[in-house]
């Protein structure tokens, strides 16, 4: 991270405060929300695959073995 104190930022300029107070937190919130949505979707998919796979496994286990 580059330290901003090396720049002589005058408080009269409004672009830097807007970046600091509005854009930065909003961008962070958006990124984190999208990341959480991705993780939750992946978990849902994984859980679905697990629950769908279970009966089939049981079915296979219950099937009598052929050829013996």
């Amino acid at each position: 991270m580059i330290n901003l104190v090396i720049f002589d930022v005058a408080p009269i300029n409004f672009v830097v405060p807007i970046l600091l107070f509005v854009l930065l937190p909003v961008a962070a919130v958006i990124c984190i929300i999208i990341a959480i949505v991705i993780i939750r979707k992946r978990n849902k998919k994984k859980n679905k695959a697990l629950t769908c796979g279970e009966p089939q496994e049981n079915k296979e286990a219950k099937q009598p073995k052929k050829g013996k």
């Binding site: 720049f7 961008a27 990124c31 990341a35």
Partner: protein
């Protein structure tokens, strides 16, 4: 520590060095410079949770880390500031998340975590202190070689960090995670807010290099201290040392000890995070990075646009230590605390 885990640390040095060196070659000044640097920081830090979530389950983490390096290399060769910043930012974010996850998942101890994060500060400090075309080109050559090598290093041989959640327990401890993130935010905040009276904004002086070295030293030693003495002694030591910067702001030497003290906690934070959220280390790493920037930006905003409140500094430092101690308690309750080599009860609570 296994030798292959030094490669991500070396790459971290190069990624930070080239991003900053090439950015400052554009001779950024005043407001425009601040806006561009802030944009770079935002691109490099804020998308990290997003990239973390996207790449979490990837089996090609090292190759993705090298892709991040490639973007930084391309950025270093682009002669136009805004395009270069986009490449640096995205490259940085991908590199940090992927290599960070690699180190978090492949290192059993905490020392490699400290080593990995420490090399970036040296790269940054060197980039701000020196300017030499031959240095730039020779380091670029080494960087390219190491980035290619990174794709072929067998990281699978390293001893992995494995944590299995107890039956019926969620693998993610949300409260612990919130407290860790709050601690990181506070650290970013007071790191910026401490009113040193020696000239830290003077690029022509060697102070910036000294600060970089202090950060490097704090991060490296923090991982080793954590392995040997455990979490609580490290948190107390860091809190005591970081107060030095507040009480002796005019002394460069004591302030540097304070800076190192603040940075002692970096490895601990990563260690806590991987224990609180072992299934999503890439996302967790990104979350820490994003909140470090937010805390840093908040500290900078307050120092620039509000009346300076010096009493706030020690309070925030103590709050940071308290939040981490509370995280330790939560992790211990769940049997996830780290076992120190020189701890009082070495056999207790092995994860």
């Amino acid at each position: 520590m296994r030798k292959e885990l030094f490669l991500p640390a070396l790459l971290h040095f190069f990624v930070d060095f080239f991003s900053v060196y090439a950015l400052f070659a554009f001779h950024l000044r005043s407001e425009l410079g601040a806006i561009l640097i802030l944009s770079y920081d935002a691109l490099a830090f804020l998308p990290q949770p997003l990239f973390g979530a996207l790449f979490e389950k990837s089996k090609h983490m090292a190759s993705l880390g090298s892709l991040g390096c490639l973007l930084v290399i391309i950025g270093a060769l682009i002669p136009e500031a805004i395009t270069a910043i986009v490449f640096f930012g995205i490259g940085n974010a991908i590199f940090h998340v992927c290599e960070g996850k690699l180190v978090l998942d492949k290192s059993e101890k905490s020392a490699p975590l400290g080593i990995f994060i420490s090399f970036g500060s040296i790269g940054l400090a060197l980039a701000l202190s020196f300017s030499n075309l031959y240095l730039f080109l020779s380091l670029l050559f080494v960087f390219i070689i190491l980035a290619i090598l990174n794709c072929f290093v067998p990281y699978t041989k390293a001893i992995p960090f494995v944590y299995q959640a107890k039956e019926g327990h969620s693998s993610t401890l949300v409260l612990a995670l919130i407290l860790i993130v709050a601690g990181v935010f506070l650290r970013g905040f007071f790191g910026q807010y401490t009113a040193y009276t020696w000239p830290k904004n003077d690029l022509s002086s060697l102070n910036i290099l000294w600060v970089g070295l202090a950060i490097f030293f704090g991060k490296v030693i923090g991982g080793f201290l954590l392995d040997y003495f455990g979490s609580i002694p490290l948190i107390v030591l860091s809190a005591l040392l970081s107060l030095l910067g507040y009480f002796f702001p005019s002394s460069l030497a004591l302030s540097l000890v304070g800076v190192a003290g603040v940075n002692l906690l970096m490895a601990l934070t990563m260690e806590f995070m991987r224990r609180a959220m072992p299934s999503f280390t890439a996302f967790g790493f990104g979350l820490l990075a994003a909140f470090l920037l937010l805390g840093y930006a908040a500290g900078f905003a307050l120092i620039s646009y509000a009346v300076f409140q010096s009493w706030l500094d020690p309070i925030l430092m103590v709050l940071n230590a308290a939040s981490l101690i509370f995280v330790y308690v939560i992790l211990k309750k769940d049997g996830r605390q780290q076992t120190a080599l020189l701890g009082l009860h070495p056999k207790e609570g092995k994860a």
